[in-house]
């Protein structure tokens, strides 16, 4: 039993147990944060902060699967960070390192898409990150987004439309 947020005094052993439990989800959490924030440093901070919040509210966790619950907390944390006035800034060190086989034009295309992504609302960006960066099914997305799969699919479609990436069809998984 992990004591955090249950009214009992949490111990170091509790914290170790909690980290062991969330560790398998951390790569996905980090990837989600990078996708949302476009900054590795801020993504690390966001994941740490989100895991702290998860730790403090672990006593209220009633689900059977931890991953969507944790991803929801990470997504919320990223939304908070994105409210900072400078979140739209695209950092040059991460935006412009082209692979040797890439042409400058590739960088410009990617840059344009990144700019378009940065203009999306947090909710729209989140569905694209979940679907195309974390490869979640619409069912799993629905759990994170606290909605149903049909609505998750609809939101994905609308976000793609905003990017002018009109899909021929979206898979039903």
């Amino acid at each position: 039993v992990i004591a955090a947020s249950t009214g009992e005094e949490a111990t170091g052993r509790d914290a170790d147990a909690f980290v062991a439990m969330v560790e398998p989800v951390l790569p996905a959490a980090y990837r989600l944060a990078v996708g949302m924030l476009q900054s590795r440093d801020e993504a690390e901070d966001a994941v740490q902060e989100a895991m702290y919040k998860a730790w403090r509210s672990f006593g209220r966790f009633r689900g059977s699967e931890m991953k969507p619950w944790l991803l929801t907390i990470v997504a919320n944390q990223c939304r908070q960070v994105r409210r900072s006035p400078w979140w739209s800034v695209i950092r040059s060190d991460e935006a412009l390192r082209l692979a040797p086989d890439q042409r400058p034009e590739d960088g410009v295309l990617r840059t344009d898409l990144r700019r378009a992504l940065s203009r999306l609302s947090g909710a729209q960006r989140l569905v694209l990150v979940l679907r195309y960066y974390l490869d979640l099914s619409f069912e799993d997305m629905a759990v994170v987004l606290k909605t149903n799969p049909k609505a998750a699919k609809s939101r994905t479609y609308r976000a793609l439309e905003r990017l002018r990436l009109s899909p021929e069809v979206l898979g039903d998984d």
Partner: protein, 481 residues
């Protein structure tokens, strides 16, 4: 487009990352710390930004800047643009707090005063000032509730200017945006600029939402000229690195350097290029970026120009070699006297202090314990007498404002101690004295002592000139004279 193609394009845009193993340890150690007041890195960043009031973030994307022969295909937004605002009564309207937020290196006399308004979804944003040289564009915007321009796109005759930017907050409602690249000017030295503010980030950031725009402005902007700085010898090689100086110039605001380096890795050039002042101290760059595009690394740096003549030194260390050369920075040109300028009016430091007990609430929240009364007297003309109190006060953020209270002749003429209807206004302090008011309204003023020192109470409600729903109340006791 298939979903696989979409996935590939989005993944390319997001960028691939590897999980940093240290993050697991970071999570574990985070659990041992008490609740943070906010996002630690962001809090530190925000504190730095707001304290210095300028972001010189390394930002963005210089791809197009490094492809000079390829005109941008991105066109300026069409549709309704800004409209000229009401005529200005002062030649210099930009508040001093905004100038501070724009960075001390911006020459005051070279900022163009504007008053362009753009309204979208009932929200008005004004562009009140701008500055440009080949290295940067500075925009000063005004709107309330307090907000920062989010994504800002600036176009010139060649299309979108792709560069990084940052900014800070100045006077109430004002924010400064700095783009790390200048516009292309015509032969007349003017650039036809279109600014599109895509959204506003409402402040404070922790609770703020986004307000969607765009707010567009189109105007001619004087581009201050730059002079080339000669380097002797020129750094063609530094150790194993090949170095080509593409731009080394002096603008009225910055020393601007663009280098192309081959044979160096991005990490190795991170601190390789430095400018030292007369005393050998490293000058912290205002902006700096490194980008890899095609062959080599493109470095772009800007350092604040010193306010007096100086001899600086450029150093490049790396690749197993060292390069250094001195260069002279002449004193900035003195501003040309402008016959249309209004005379400089007294500022707060020209005036004595007086004890006050005024409270400002609403869109501006201040407790005024000390003021610097400027005018405190009965004034008369053919229509009657009024009592006038003009008083500077300093906000918590350090910005100065003038609070003006004048008894309203429409209520009754001033005739000594008593209660009167009053008109009230608040103006930010600009270089030559108070700028036009940003808040105005009415209320009551009681004069209890009609001889020096004057004293009384005031209670007034003021509204933001572009949105009267944004209100500020002023109440409490005042003294002057």
């Amino acid at each position: 487009m298939t979903e696989t193609e979409i996935r590939n394009r989005l993944r390319d845009a997001f960028g691939e990352v590897e999980y940093p193993p240290a993050l697991t340890r970071g999570v574990r150690s985070r659990l041992d710390r008490p609740q943070a007041s906010g996002h630690p890195r962001l809090v530190a960043l925000a504190a730095a930004l707001l304290a210095v009031a300028i972001v010189a973030t390394l930002v963005y994307i210089r791809t197009q800047a490094w492809l000079p022969s390829a005109p941008s295909t991105v066109q300026a937004p069409r549709g309704p643009l800004s409209s000229p605002g009401p005529p200005m009564i002062s030649a210099q309207q930009v508040p001093t707090a905004d100038l501070a937020a724009a960075g001390a290196s911006i020459p005051v006399g070279l900022i163009s005063d504007y008053n362009f308004a753009s309204t979208k979804n009932g929200r008005t944003v004004r562009l009140i000032g701008a500055y440009a040289d080949p290295a940067r564009i500075v925009l000063i915007c005004r709107t309330l509730p307090q907000a920062q321009p989010g994504l800002v796109e600036i176009y010139d005759d060649r299309g979108l200017i792709k560069a990084g930017g940052g900014g800070g907050q100045g006077s109430l409602g004002d924010s400064v945006f700095v783009l790390d690249q200048g516009p292309h000017a015509g032969s007349d030295g003017l650039a036809n600029v279109t600014v599109s503010i895509q959204f506003l980030q409402e402040m404070p950031p922790a609770q703020g939402n986004l307000s969607q725009g765009p707010w567009n402005f189109a105007f001619a902007l004087k581009v201050q000229p730059a002079t080339t700085i000669a380097l002797e010898p020129s750094p063609s090689t530094v150790g194993s690195w090949q170095v080509a100086v593409q731009t080394f110039e002096l603008t009225p605001s910055v020393i601007h350097l663009k280098l192309l380096m081959t044979g160096a890795s991005p990490d190795s050039v991170a601190s390789a290029v430095n400018v030292l002042d007369d005393q050998g101290n490293t000058v912290v760059p205002l902006e700096g970026s490194t980008s890899a595009l095609g062959a080599g690394l493109h470095l772009d740096y800007a350092w604040a120009r010193p306010g007096a003549a100086a001899t600086y030194r450029l150093q490049i260390n790396g690749g197993g070699g060292h390069y250094a050369a001195s260069f002279a920075v002449p004193a900035p040109a003195a501003p040309t006297p402008d016959s249309s300028e209004v005379p400089k009016l007294p500022g707060p430091y020209d005036l004595p202090t007086a004890s006050e007990s005024l409270t400002v609430q609403g869109a501006m929240a201040e407790t005024i314990n000390f003021g610097h009364p400027w005018q405190c007297k009965a004034i008369s003309d053919t229509s009657g007498s009024s009592f006038l109190l003009d008083m500077y006060f300093r906000s918590k953020s350090g910005a100065w404002y003038l609070l003006g209270l004048i008894t309203d002749l429409a209520d009754k003429p001033y005739s000594g101690p008593g209660s009167y209807g009053v008109r009230a206004y608040i103006s930010p302090l600009a270089t030559n004295g108070p700028a036009d008011h940003i808040l105005s309204g009415s209320g009551t003023m009681t004069v209890t002592s009609a001889g020096a020192p004057f004293a009384g109470t005031a209670n007034a409600m003021l509204g933001w000139d572009d949105d009267p729903k944004q209100q500020v109340s002023v109440s409490g006791g005042w003294t002057c004279g």
